[in-house]
């Protein structure tokens, strides 16, 4: 069942100025309920612009965004509701945090939803625990935190609203490997435990491979591919022509293929890779 539908949207920055940029060109796409979707594309391809349309932060110049079949721009109320239904984590956590303490920042969304004080506290507690934020940080100013801590607080602030769709714009950028894995686990768990749709942007193909059910590729404001991760990564050459890479494992299999080994090209999972390599060894032992 589809939860979010984007219909023929076009978005223009700086209309009527010499700096006019058409960031999205007549895009249509449907996001299914419960899926984990990765959005990839080179810098400036329009990823952030597209995602900001999904919760009504940007209003399309032309076209519609439907949440569960209803146009989110139908009325002022429906836009506000869309902001709760579709949680958006900004590309830079500095752009999202503004409250005087971490606790208040996480509570900001639930408070706007008009929940009771009790429920708000509960949500804050749940979200901090889920995002793995140390409770000693709760009374600190969000600006005194490290980059990784800020990122977690920003994600927790959105998760506390329990949105039906969670959007994360480059959630792993600028994190150390440990922090990165933690955030990836966090995203995966949220998707599994709440059954929510998760859409995220990443430049790291290994993250994409380990998380995504589906991959959406943007280039110059247009969709070039929207398919399962397997199908997308089996087209390594086309990805390269879009200035994108493939996961390291796929890269390894592609290079081995070029050197004459008979291996499949659509592998990006360590278990599958092991199986494929073992079967190759077995076949060679036979000959």
């Amino acid at each position: 069942m589809s939860i979010l539908e984007v219909k023929n949207i076009t978005y223009v920055y700086g209309e009527g100025t010499p700096f006019r940029i058409e960031a999205l060109k007549n895009i249509s796409v449907t996001f299914e309920k419960g899926e984990l979707i990765a959005v990839i594309g080179h810098t400036g391809s329009g990823k952030s612009t597209l995602l900001m349309h999904l919760n009504g932060l940007l209003k399309p110049t032309a076209g519609k965004v439907l949440y569960e079949g209803k146009d989110i721009w139908e009325s002022k109320k429906s836009v506000k509701q869309a902001r709760f239904n579709v949680g958006y984590c900004f590309q830079y956590p500095e752009h999202q945090l503004f409250e005087s303490s971490v606790q208040r920042d996480i509570a900001f969304g639930p408070r706007n939803m008009g929940l009771s004080e009790e429920e708000i506290n509960l949500r804050v507690q749940e979200a901090t625990q889920f995002a793995g934020i140390d409770s000693s940080l709760l009374q600190k100013s969000p600006f005194e935190l490290s980059g990784g801590e800020k990122r977690r607080v920003a994600i927790a602030g959105v998760m506390a609203m329990k949105p039906g769709v969670l959007i994360l714009d480059e959630p792993t950028a600028g994190l150390d490997p440990k922090g990165k894995n933690a955030v990836i686990e966090l995203i995966k768990n949220y998707n599994i435990q709440t059954g929510s749709t998760v859409i995220f942007v990443s430049h790291n193909m290994d993250d994409v491979a380990s998380l995504a059910d589906r991959v959406l590729i943007l280039s110059e404001g247009q969709i070039v591919m929207y398919d399962t991760a397997k199908n997308v990564f089996s087209r390594g050459k086309q990805l390269a022509s879009l200035a994108l890479g493939v996961p390291e494992i796929t890269q390894l299999f592609l290079s081995m293929g070029e050197r004459g080994f008979d291996l499949p090209v659509d592998i990006f999972d360590i278990e599958e890779a092991k199986a494929a390599l073992l079967s190759l060894l077995r076949r060679q032992a036979h000959d």
Binding site: L57, K77, K80, Q96, F108, M161
Partner: protein, 271 residues
Amino acid sequence: MIKDITIGQFFPGKSFIHKLDARIKIVLTGIILVMIFVCGNFYSLGLMSAFILFSFLLTRLSLRLILKSFKPLVLILVITSLLQLYYVDKGEILFSWRKLSITSGGVYMMIFITVRILSLILVSSLLTYTTSPTSLTYAIESLLSPLKVFKVEVHTFAMMMTIALRFIPTLIEEIDRIMNAQKARGADFETGSLVSRIKALFPIFIPLFVSSFKRAFELADAMSCRCYTGGKGRTRMKQQKTGVRDLCAAAAVIVLSAAVIWLNAFFGRVV
């Protein structure tokens, strides 16, 4: 919406007016502002506004900018001219309704005041449109430098002004960012009563102050890293020189002032 605010905007160009020494420009603008108030009848005021319009044409800026500079003050203009119309009770009665009556004197006054205010606005925007903020502050620093005798920190003052001007667009961007962050989590700036909408704006200003202080400290650090120690021994990359051009402009304004005073005396003051 918030990005449409323009304060003291500068439009680069190569015209006669652009090339004038900013110090001379400030002084001459000051003289013209005073002379606009000296104008006592339509002849002198007409001459004055013709001169200002002519200077504007010299800048070769789009005439639409004139309208743009008037826009923020339309309300004040309308109110003052209506007040004139109502209060001035001179000349013959043109129209009356109950206790209200409009006299020909009132109409004259209304036109006079409107032209005066428009000239005031135009001549001051002429200064900001054609002078870059840096040369403007340098000019102020240089004009105020006699105050150094009284131990006034003229350079610090000018530097403060430069920084303040430079950061206006940054602050506007910052407001935009905070509003977006709050909107994304359901803050409501668009629905509800006027009071509740104004209330929704307050939570923007606190983070704005916090981030401004943070930015100020960072800027101070960046400046000390580049060995900024205040005005002593500092030189300028772009030196301003007063030349023939400036003398011509000054002469024109002096002749204009003399003409205004003569016209006032010859035709008598109406106001």
